[in-house]
C-alpha cells in the first residue's frame, strides 16, 4: 500500500508537469488545428535558460536566497520562451496557415530539429546538474515521502491551470480564443484580431512550457539539450488522451498519463509475473491511449465531431 501511495504521489507530480506542457499543445491546436511539434523543445529551452541564469547570478549575488534565484531564472526563461514562440509562429507557421495540412507539420519538425541542435551548440552535449535551490526537505504523507519541491510543483501547476481556466472563460482574450477555436473565419469577421489571438495562444503555451521545464529539471536535478523531445511527445499524448483542443482535457490527460506511468513502473513487473519489467511503462501508457481512442475516438473530454471536419 505504501508503494501504491508513493507511486501515486510521483504520478501526480509527473502528471502536473505533463498537463502544463499539454496545455500548450491544446491551445494552439484548438485554434489552428496544428500539432506544434516544436513545443517540447520550448520546455528544454526553458530549463536550460533558467539554469544558465541561476549559474551566472549565483556567484554575482552570493547573498541571494535560493527561491529568489529560482524565481528570477523562471521569469527569464518564460520571457525567452515567449519571444522564441512568437518568432517560431511568425517564421514557421504563419506563412503556411493556408497551405496543405501536412506542410506546417514538416516545418514544426524542422523547428524542433533546429532548436534541439542550436541548444546543443550553446549548452553542449553533456547533462547539466541543476543546483538544489530550494530546501530538499521531505515530508511523510500517508506513508509516502514527498519533497517540498514536489509539493511546490503540484501547487504551482494547479495555480497556473486555475489561472488559465479563468483566463479562457472569464476574460475578453479568453472569449476571443474560444471564438477562434469555434470558427476562425467567423471570428475574424466578428472583428477578432486573429493573428493576435494566435500569438497569445503561442505565448501562453510557451510560458507554461518554460515553467514546466524548470519544474522537470528541479524534480530530477538534470537538464539536457534532448530532454524536450520525449517530454513533448508524452505531453502531446496526454493532450490527445484528454481530447485535443480541450483545456480541461489536457489537464485530465496529463494527470492520468503521469499516474498511469508511475503506477506502471511500480506494478507492471508484479502484475505480469516478472515478464514485463518497468521498461514497459511507456508501452502501458500508449496501450491505454489506444484503448481509450478506440472506444472514444476524440479523447476523453473531446467533443464528438461529425465525420466531416
Amino acid at each position: 500500500m505504501d508503494i501504491f501511495i508513493q507511486q501515486l504521489v510521483n504520478g501526480v507530480v509527473l502528471g502536473s508537469i505533463y498537463a502544463l506542457v499539454a496545455l500548450g499543445y491544446t491551445l494552439v491546436y484548438g485554434i489552428l488545428g496544428l500539432i506544434n511539434f516544436a513545443h517540447g523543445e520550448l520546455v528544454m529551452v526553458g530549463a536550460l535558460v533558467a539554469l544558465s541564469v541561476v549559474r551566472t547570478l549565483s556567484p554575482l549575488l552570493p547573498g541571494l536566497p535560493g527561491w529568489v534565484l529560482a524565481l528570477l531564472g523562471t521569469a527569464v526563461a518564460a520571457g525567452v520562451c515567449a519571444l522564441l514562440a512568437i518568432l517560431i509562429e511568425r517564421v514557421a507557421y504563419r506563412p503556411l496557415r493556408h497551405a496543405p495540412r501536412l506542410a506546417p507539420l514538416i516545418t514544426a519538425i524542422g523547428v524542433s530539429i533546429a532548436l534541439q541542435n542550436l541548444a546543443m551548440v550553446i549548452w553542449g552535449r553533456q547533462y547539466h546538474s541543476v543546483p538544489p535551490l530550494l530546501p530538499a526537505a521531505s515530508h511523510q504523507f500517508a506513508g509516502a515521502a514527498i519533497t517540498e519541491v514536489q509539493i511546490l510543483i503540484v501547487a504551482l501547476a494547479a495555480l497556473l491551470m486555475a489561472g488559465l481556466i479563468g483566463l479562457v472563460h472569464r476574460t475578453r482574450l479568453g472569449r476571443a480564443m474560444r471564438a477562434c477555436a469555434e470558427n476562425i473565419q467567423v471570428a475574424e469577421l466578428m472583428g477578432v484580431n486573429v493573428n493576435a489571438i494566435v500569438v497569445a495562444a503561442f505565448v501562453i503555451g510557451a510560458v507554461l512550457a518554460a515553467v514546466a521545464g524548470v519544474m522537470v529539471s528541479a524534480n530530477y536535478g538534470l537538464a539536457h539539450y534532448h530532454m524536450g523531445f520525449l517530454l513533448g511527445l508524452k505531453a502531446f499524448t496526454a493532450a490527445v488522451l484528454g481530447g485535443i483542443g480541450n483545456v480541461g482535457g489536457a489537464m485530465l490527460g496529463g494527470l492520468l498519463l503521469g499516474i498511469m506511468e508511475s503506477l506502471g513502473a511500480g506494478y507492471l513487473e508484479d502484475l505480469s509475473g516478472g515478464f514485463l519489467g518497468s521498461h514497459y511503462q511507456d508501452v502501458l501508457a500508449f496501450f491505454v491511449l489506444i484503448l481509450v481512442l478506440v472506444s472514444r475516438p476524440s479523447g476523453l473530454l473531446g467533443e464528438r465531431v461529425g465525420q466531416r471536419a
Binding site: P95, L96, H98, P100, A103, Q185, L233, I244, F286, I290
Partner: protein
Amino acid sequence: MKRRWTLWIAYALLAAALAALPFLVEQNLGRTWVRTLDFALLYIMLALGLNIVVGYAGLLDLGYIAFYAVGAYAYALLASPHFGIHGPFWALLPLGAMLAALFGALLGAPTLRLRGDYLAIVTLGFGEIVRIFLNNLNAPVNITNGPQGVNLVDPIRLGNWSWGRSQSWLGVEFSSAQLYYYVFLALALLIILASLRLENSRIGRAWEAIREDEVAAAAMGINTRNIKLLAFAMGASFGGVSGGLFASFQGFVSPESFGLMESITVLCMVVLGGMGHIPGVILGALLLTLMPEVLRHTIVPLQKTLFGQVVVDAEAARMLLFGLALIWAMQWRPAGLWPSPTRRRELARRQQPEAGP
C-alpha cells in the same frame, strides 16, 4: 512510331546510367558514397511505402518505421547465429513483407474510426510499442537480444555467390556495396512499378476517394474499411521488404535504428517531395538522404577555411542546417518540391483557405 523510339532510347540511356552509377561513384567519390547510394535506394523504397498510406489514402502514419523494424528483425532472427537459423534470403524477404503487412493490418484494424491527428498519435504509439518490445525482449526469454541487437546477420546469398564480399564477374570486380546496389535498384524499380500500377488502379482510385472525402467514398460504394486496411498492409509490406534488405546489407540490427526520428524522417521525405506523386517522393528521399551526407563532408572543411578551426560541432551544425532547410523548403513550396499535377491544380483553384478545425 517515332516517339516510341525516342522513349526507348531514353529508357536505355537511363538504364545504362543507373547501371554505371556505382562504378562512377566509387571511382570519383569513394566507397562510402556507394553505401550512401544504397541507403538512398532503401529510403526510396520506404518513402514509397509510406506514400501509399499518407499520400494515396491520406492516413497520417507516424509509426511507419515499425514495419521496417519488423522486416529487419524477421530477417535478422531467421538468418543469423543468434538462433542458429540460416534461412535463405529469397524466401525470408517475402516472409518479412508478409509479416509486416500483417502488422500493418493489425495497426489498421483498431484505428479505422480515428481521424487525422488522433490517428497520427496512435500510429506513433504503435511505433514506440514495437521499438520498446524489441529493446526489452531479451528477458526472461532472449528473443531480440535487447539493446545489443542481432549481430552477424547473413548477407544475401545465391548459390556460391555471397553479397557480403567482393566478387568478380566477366573480369569486372564488384564490391559488396556495389553488388547490393543492383539488388536494391531492382527491388526499388519493382516497388516504383507497383506504386505506378496501384496509382491508376481501382484500388488506387478508391484510396484517393477516401483521402478526399471518406463519407462520399463510402456513399459511392467503396468498402472503406477494407480499402483502408489494404493501404496499411500494402504500405507496411514495402517497409518490410526494405527492412529485410537493410538487415542483410548492414549485417546488424538494433532497436536504435527504428526510433521515432526515423519515422519522421521518412514522413519528411514524402511530404517534402510531394505527397502522392511518385517522382516527387523519390526526389524527397534522395534529397534527404544525400543532403546530410553532403553536409557531413563539407561542414568541417568549410569551417576550417572560413575560421581556421572547427567553431561549431559538426553534427549539430549539420542537423541545424537540415532543420532550417526543412522550414525553408516547405515555405517555398508548401505542396512539396515536385507535387502531382492534380494536387497543384487543386491548390491553385482553392485560393480560399479551408474551414478551421
